[in-house]
Symmetry: C2
Subunit: 693 residues, 2 copies
Amino acid sequence: MDARHAILFEPVRIGPKTLPNRFYQVPHASGFGSAKPRTQAAFRAIKAEGGWGGVCVEYAPISPDSDEAPAIGADIWDDRDAKALGLSADAIQAHGSLAGLELYHGGATSPNGSSRAVRLAPSQLTSEVQWGGLAKEMDTDDIARVQRDWVRAARRAADVGFDIVYVYGAHGYLMTQFLSADLNRRTDGYGGSLANRGRFWLETLAAVREAIGSDCAIATRIALHGDSGVPGAIGLPGIHIDEMLTLVGLADDLVDLWDVTVGSWPEDSGTSRYYPEGHERPWAHRVREATAKPVVAVGRYTSPDLMAEVIRSGAVDLIGSARQAIADPFLPRKIAEGRLEDIRECTGSNVCILREETFRHVGCVQNATAGEEYRRGWHPESFPATANPDRSVLIVGAGPAGMECAVVLGKRGFTAVHLVEAQSEIGGRLRWTRSLPTLGDWGRIIDWRMVQLAGLRDVEVITNRRLTTADVLEYGADLVVIATGSQWRGDGVQPDYPDPMPGADAGLPHVLTPEQVCAGKRPPGSKVIVYDTDGYYVAPGLAELLAADGFEVSLVTRFNVLSPVSDETLEGDMLRAHLHRAGVRVRHATTVTGIGPGSITGNDRDGEAWSAACDGIVLVTQQISRDSLYRELAADPVALSSSGIEGLYCIGDAVAPRMISEAIFDGHRLAREIDEKEPGQPAPYLREQSSLA
Amino acid sequence: MDARHAILFEPVRIGPKTLPNRFYQVPHASGFGSAKPRTQAAFRAIKAEGGWGGVCVEYAPISPDSDEAPAIGADIWDDRDAKALGLSADAIQAHGSLAGLELYHGGATSPNGSSRAVRLAPSQLTSEVQWGGLAKEMDTDDIARVQRDWVRAARRAADVGFDIVYVYGAHGYLMTQFLSADLNRRTDGYGGSLANRGRFWLETLAAVREAIGSDCAIATRIALHGDSGVPGAIGLPGIHIDEMLTLVGLADDLVDLWDVTVGSWPEDSGTSRYYPEGHERPWAHRVREATAKPVVAVGRYTSPDLMAEVIRSGAVDLIGSARQAIADPFLPRKIAEGRLEDIRECTGSNVCILREETFRHVGCVQNATAGEEYRRGWHPESFPATANPDRSVLIVGAGPAGMECAVVLGKRGFTAVHLVEAQSEIGGRLRWTRSLPTLGDWGRIIDWRMVQLAGLRDVEVITNRRLTTADVLEYGADLVVIATGSQWRGDGVQPDYPDPMPGADAGLPHVLTPEQVCAGKRPPGSKVIVYDTDGYYVAPGLAELLAADGFEVSLVTRFNVLSPVSDETLEGDMLRAHLHRAGVRVRHATTVTGIGPGSITGNDRDGEAWSAACDGIVLVTQQISRDSLYRELAADPVALSSSGIEGLYCIGDAVAPRMISEAIFDGHRLAREIDEKEPGQPAPYLREQSSLA
């Protein structure tokens, strides 16, 4: 270990417990809740195994009036729920780490989609548009009942073995709703002065401490103003940092660990596009002004040097992490072993959040095993040795899927893996993606895999070599994996319009594809339209690139909002403000169906005809697999057989254009399962089905 | 029974099975899938008990490449899933009905959110925007495998006892994707001619029939062009009705029951706002041209006379129903017993679909017990006798919650229930809601309850009587239920803006609330702005009303799209087209923050200042509970006690403004649980938790 990093491995006392080191996986949603307890336990345990000294589960609703359905939280409404969550505590502690549970009440933000309970709030006001209904202004019976529920939930958490129990106050949920002078307009002892607005929080902390304080460390999570000026929740009005620090002072005797978040959730979980590593420091570190108790704060830290510096500064005691612990559960062990080059750095793309927020199984661009620990039995650092090490494997195409496949095959002990790339560098679509404004950190997907490939002596990377069907047949490989990716269509085919668009031909000077723009093609004239039916980062990225080049850029989107997918990665508001500042004009809910000389035609949101003058158009409409090599090979089984090719597979975007995380997952899966009987099909995985017992 | 309706009770043979009558609950999603098997079974069994001769479960994905997560379908991937679904078959058959299961593959539309499998499609094209990724163009191995999966799933369905097994082809899923000349561009035997495009469907039918045809009736579901010209799925291009009838001819030997849907899902499940009862007849009834086999079609039928006429016409053999069977599971028995006045008519508001589509527990404005059969043990027609029949109950306010509460208390045997209403008629907010353009059928919520109240001799309805706190204390009731509802704010308070809006005062002539507009208040001048931060039916309804009155109406919405909630009820596209035709101009993503004389000011979607001239503004911003009566009573427990009031409760919008279905649920719940120890709090309900066995 580098001596500079030794400070990270000091134990830290929190209340009655001691963390073995300063690496702390803060509570974060997974989508597993208490509904998938084995999946949850394995997902958390891997982080303990990887060296995180504190590992928390996630927000744990304490009662049916904080029912998060359709989202899945770690409900702890009864003993059976608690037993399910106890699996996680046991699994985390088996590796010597402390296990935490974040007891939670959402108040006015709880959808109560399954329970149908009325929402609760300090006053009948809302910080967000809630067509599901407004909340009930809690009466004092409601307050007492919620506090009783909190204590009962804490007792259950302690009984099934959790070391750290939260009174979750941040992110705009019930505690913060009481604290907010805007949302809390009560005239009783729970409204008015800061002491009154903080009373609900303080009373709950005291009751929980009284009940379990000798058994467990009591943590609370707070949200401070950040640079957006928006603390807590999206759009939640005003709790100033000074007020919050006063609350810290008032509550300090009741708290063993302060877990600090900064600003709105999009700011707190800021992506690499808009926030640098450690961006919360100016605010998070101010908590030290108000307490000598241990403090944990996040910062999307990926650099061990910066982590050590943050600890040395004395402002915080623990390095909090959510996304980096998903991207690399073994970060602490790698630092301890001095294997810094092996750390999978989080790209800060928030695909994990996108998947969780849209109720999908969690995923990660850097770590394809995230969430697959239980159901597929995958381990991020352990790769079952192949039974067929001598089978030679040719992988054609070194984009995300091909790189990942090669790395995993190499780690599984295949002794002759060739990764062959037609271009001069590996990386596939990421080579141009990382060159777009704000997307540089996505290049870490390539970088980590380049380092790994360099360390695998049985994997040979060959660039500048474009293989034909005949080349593949003559290559001499036992197994062939086609990973030739996808490309953007230049013919204007788009969702709902399966035929080419009149006038769309990327061979013309005024019609451009994203790849062409990134390769330097520019339209004639000054007015360019970027047309988007994709909805994520490509169209805004190209618009910003062209605006920076001096073009007058309009972005025409089929969607009602620019880049709706970016809302799922928490980037939407920032992205739109960014484009607005860059001078990009946006036209919404509009389709383009024809390209003429100097103008385009289409339909507006009411179906009325629409047209606009422009000197060129960039088509971000639809991708298409680059699969001709695969098709030609698959079409001639006799040739395959006589060439000695025992297996032919296709992975990644060459199968179907998808998000990068899913293409990587695909390459990873094939490499894990390539010894199976039907490797082309995913092997069945374990599911936590309903019991009929 | 009325002799005209006897035809509805004739048995109908389908393949090897016989339906006991012509009432058929077609497959429809519930959100219970195979994940909540007991909830599912009870939800379906109640329909069999109520007399539906055929009762189907819902779409049953056959494999992980049709994984509908985040939606919950009746997955039948393995024997354990099948066992869970078998509970439904058993429960349906226990009442003498046939049980059906709709085997399903979504193809390109399957999100595969949990399995992470690649989507499958005939060609790499899409009928809708799918940021999750495009689909794989299926090779012949994929086709054979999906067909094998279908047969395996059919065998499992038969083994656990289902009588009717579907090969689901409608609504734009995999079968229809193959059939569509737009989406299927294959050049092999599965593309090109209609016979080729239909081959996948026909082969699958044949294989399923071969496997289980002697044990089960084989049904298939098709989608015909309707008046929107859009069959199958939202936006799916072109399968003409003539082509579909040709397919019916080709497949007729393989099918025991044709289940016919019409147009896109929003058209097929058309709401009462835009479609009359039986609107699909011109298209659905054309299937008879191509087959003599039994045919079922839906039509949101609520009238027994129309049902009988449809059968007598010979065009269809069964009355298909989804929504009406939710609204009244006992419709067939009520017809059989001649109790037509007791039929709860579906309002066609699609709140059931809204809740299912947004992954909430199913709900219904007419039937508060829908989905509560297992978990709360509620029965739509059976009401446990109260242990305290002599306790007198005063309900203040005869809106949705109060009416429902009174009906249930009456049915439970309370002998002195007074429902007291300040207005001259009962109905609460529905009195003005039903007067808005297109919303007339929502009045059925009042109508059914008025009929029921009239039949309950121990429930007295008193109108034109506004009770003060003193009146309530002197009333002499043992239990008091406050159901005084809510009203729209006239002060401009809106989400994110907890303080009144400068200039917003509904006492002024140019500032209006929805209730005021419905009561006849009109702004001076001709230009009126309707400002919407609610997002559902009120603002569009008022805009249409005012436009019809000759005003020049602009609708300013805070949302990116007009009435986003209407998208969840499948009405969005129709509503927007309707308003566009009515000449209402819409400005999106805009807030109003100030009202001046002759103009309003606010911010546009980029946060830039914005203003507009107008003669008046209607504020559809936020509701507020009308709860002063409850608060005054609750504040004086001594007075309550000395008045002999043993229990004081608040229900419906007086607690918190919510959707009508939820207010009714609230009133229903209190009446069911009013003998419990803490009736103000919902009693715990059964949950189908994960097993740790």
